[in-house]
């Protein structure tokens, strides 16, 4: 298919689709007039039923925990895909320590700023992750924040320092544990004859850090998994940049 033909098809089909879409959108409930009972129902019930004040996470890790399990494994599979695609094949010679040389460390002033930033980012990540059932946050957000802490190490020093601080094998194992523990938490209720992912842990006092039963635990597992996932992606890409083959032009 030539570029011109593709564009022609797009210019015909696109406006037709847009016309139908706009016609449909005009007949949706007006913006700001949410009607569905489902969201309201959960917003009313989550605090009483699950002792979780953040209803978004109550949905993610409890009411629709099964969907999140699927999402988590999409994440897991995508990371495995990145690692498989960018792995170094044994028979392909890699450039010794890179045609792109590893950068020397940045200036002292940048490194001075990054040390406190590293501390704050780590504490903030743990705070967000452990309070997911109470305030906005949870495992997914905490994982991204904690992984960015490791990227700060790379910024402050170089790829070698990043590799030293994040052991590759350990991160792989941690990622697998994070993904598996979610599934295991889901399966445990099956063993005592309850539906998958039933919230069986004591619910605690609403507003406590150790409340909401499974929600806090699953959120922590997801946090571990997401942290490891993003670390692996960063690690794989840095390795590719430093030792990657660059085809001759």
């Amino acid at each position: 298919m030539t570029d011109r033909l593709r564009l022609a098809i797009f210019l015909v089909a696109g406006p037709v689709f847009m016309g139908l879409y706009c016609y449909a959108a005009m007949n949706l409930p007006p913006w700001g007039q949410y009607r569905g009972p489902y969201g309201d129902m959960i917003a009313k019930l989550a605090v009483y039923e699950r002792h979780a004040t953040d209803t978004v996470n109550a949905i993610n890790y409890d009411y629709r925990g099964f969907d999140t399990l699927g999402e988590e494994f999409i994440l897991f599979t995508a990371v495995i895909g990145v690692m498989m695609l960018l792995r170094r094949e044994k028979d392909v010679p890699t450039s010794p320590a890179g045609k792109v040389a590893d950068r020397p460390p940045l200036s002292e002033s940048v490194r001075a700023v990054i040390s406190p930033a590293l501390l704050i980012t780590t504490i903030f990540g743990f705070y967000i992750g452990l309070h997911g059932q109470l305030t906005p946050g949870g495992g997914f957000q905490a994982g991204v924040i904690l992984a960015s802490a490791a990227i700060l190490v790379y910024l402050a020093a170089n790829t070698e320092a990043f590799k030293r601080t994040t052991s590759h094998v350990a991160v792989e194992v941690v990622e697998a544990i994070g993904a598996a523990s979610y599934a295991l938490i889901g399966i445990v209720p099956l063993l005592i004859g309850l539906p998958l992912l039933t919230n069986i842990l004591p619910l605690g006092v609403t507003g406590d850090v150790l409340s909401a039963g499974n929600i806090a635990l699953i959120s922590a597992c997801v946090g571990v998994e997401v942290t490891a996932a993003f670390l692996l992606v960063a690690y794989t890409y840095l390795e590719e940049i430093v030792t990657g083959e660059i085809p001759e032009e």
Binding site: L28, I42, L75
Partner: protein, 118 residues
């Protein structure tokens, strides 16, 4: 014409979708295609949040408001929350494919990729 304004966020979503799709169709560079796909996907965020929004609704966090206060729909927010993180990793996966495609074939234009072998 208030009716148009009442659907404005839905049209914003459509506009984002259209921009992303146009970029994909006319793309000359694989990295450009990946970014266009990310833009296309972000239109779903706008659409979902627009559907769940309620005028005057509070955030669905009951840490500091009384239970029973009318809030926006937490369900669509939960849908988006997981997707934002997953999308980031999927973009990483696609970019890894781009790197491999460039290594194998030496070109980054989607229309030249059909000459790729093995």
């Amino acid at each position: 014409m208030p009716h148009i304004l009442h659907s404005l966020p839905y049209f914003v979503a459509a506009w984002l979708f259209f921009c992303g799709l146009y970029g994909l169709v006319t793309s000359r560079h694989l990295v450009h295609s990946v970014i266009c796909l990310a833009i296309l996907q972000s239109s779903t965020y706008v659409l979902l949040l627009a559907i769940g929004y309620r005028v005057g609704g509070a955030a669905p966090i009951f840490a500091d408001i009384a239970p029973g206060v009318l809030t926006v729909d937490p369900v669509v927010q939960a849908l988006m929350l997981t997707d934002v993180v997953v999308e980031a990793v999927v973009v990483a996966l696609l970019l890894a494919m781009v790197v491999k495609a460039y290594e194998k074939s030496g070109c980054v234009s989607p229309s030249e990729l059909r000459t790729m072998r093995g």
